[in-house]
């Protein structure tokens, strides 16, 4: 093999470069996102009422379907009351019901959404509790 040393050195450098992202992210990508539930509103609820509109397991896997259903029934249908878990009733509104309890969008919504790389466009229109007075300056 001509120039064997150079080729092997080159190969080693190439392999090191190519696999760098894998080494660099070892252990990181596996860290499970932990959405936080410690908002003042949730903390102030008595333990018996400290639940979402549906079970935790259902919300974890299917909140997007529920939110789509809520959106359609509120905007396209006429009904805006939701009969939730344990027969408790909720006003169907992302801004006025969901975000009243989950007032920590960054620690709650964004945690998993960033991890999964999904970008829901809810916040283009709907306000979140903390940033409601800061207009987005991106578009001209």
């Amino acid at each position: 093999m001509y120039n064997g040393g150079k080729i092997i050195a080159g190969l080693i450098i190439f392999v090191a470069f190519f696999t760098f992202p894998f080494y660099y992210n070892i252990g990181k990508a596996d860290t499970k996102p932990e959405p936080k539930l410690d908002t003042p509103v949730i903390q102030s609820l008595p333990a018996s009422e400290r639940h979402c509109v549906e079970s935790k397991e259902f919300m974890r896997t299917s909140h997007m379907q529920l939110l789509n259903d809520w959106r359609d029934t509120a905007v396209r249908g006429m009904d805006r009351t939701f009969n939730g878990m344990n027969g408790q009733r909720y006003y169907i509104s992302l801004q006025n019901t969901c975000m009243k309890c989950h007032s920590n969008k960054k620690e709650f919504c964004d945690k998993c959404h960033t991890y999964m790389g999904v970008k829901p466009y809810c916040w283009d229109c709907h306000f979140t509790p903390k940033e409601q007075f800061i207009p987005k300056e991106k578009e001209s």
Partner: protein
Amino acid sequence: MSMNRRQFIKLAGISTVLGIGGLTAVDKIRAQSVLETPPAAPDASTVFQAPTALKAKRWGMVIDMTRFNNPDLYRKCITACHSIHNVPDWGEKKDEVKWIWTDDYEHSFPDSENPYMPEAMKEKSFLLLCNHCDNPPCVRVCPTQATFRRPDGIVMQDMHRCIGCRFCMAACPYGSRSFNWKNPRLALKKVNPDYPTRTIGVVEKCTFCTERLVKGLQPACVEASEGAIVFGDLEDPNSDVRKILGNRYSIRRKAELGTKPSVFYLIGGAENA
């Protein structure tokens, strides 16, 4: 290594079968361990209308122009609506977004020109808004059904589905629809945190305050109008709007177009009608 055609086909066949079988096996294992079936929603969960919500067969509005004698009253109605619904104020006509606004008689009722009508009425500003037509041309042209007529007569706009084609704006003979040329949040000095804004590239208009009706409240402009605007069910002969329309002469904007508007204007006193 040399290989004849027979050997090659054999090898290809075996590796294909192995490949497919291998993948299927992997998928099966994955399906069992990782992708558990999501828990179904409990059966009791349903969606319904709150008992306190205002209901009607066809919502309509009567605007008594004889009671609009003070410029402040127009402003009060417009501000009430625009502040509640986070309607941006761009300060220039080009980017204007409006749900409720004013114009003079000549431009509001171009078909009913009358040179000898009372001067006071001729020069008056008329309070204009979406007419929530019974036969809405905007709904007919919308390619995505983002705008639609609800069973109670309200012509609603679904911002989630609007693609910003502006066909509805071309179709509406009343100019009730506005397009968001810019991000509306940039033009809001104060926001109502209970109501969303819109985004750049969608069309918006008056909704007859659907979000207030479900809570049992009258529309914002009606509440601010000190009794000059009456809102009610046009299909109910005993409703306030029907009683007024039965007693006094009323006109509608461009009714000859066949859109069947649901907003009525009173332009004369009861004694003259």
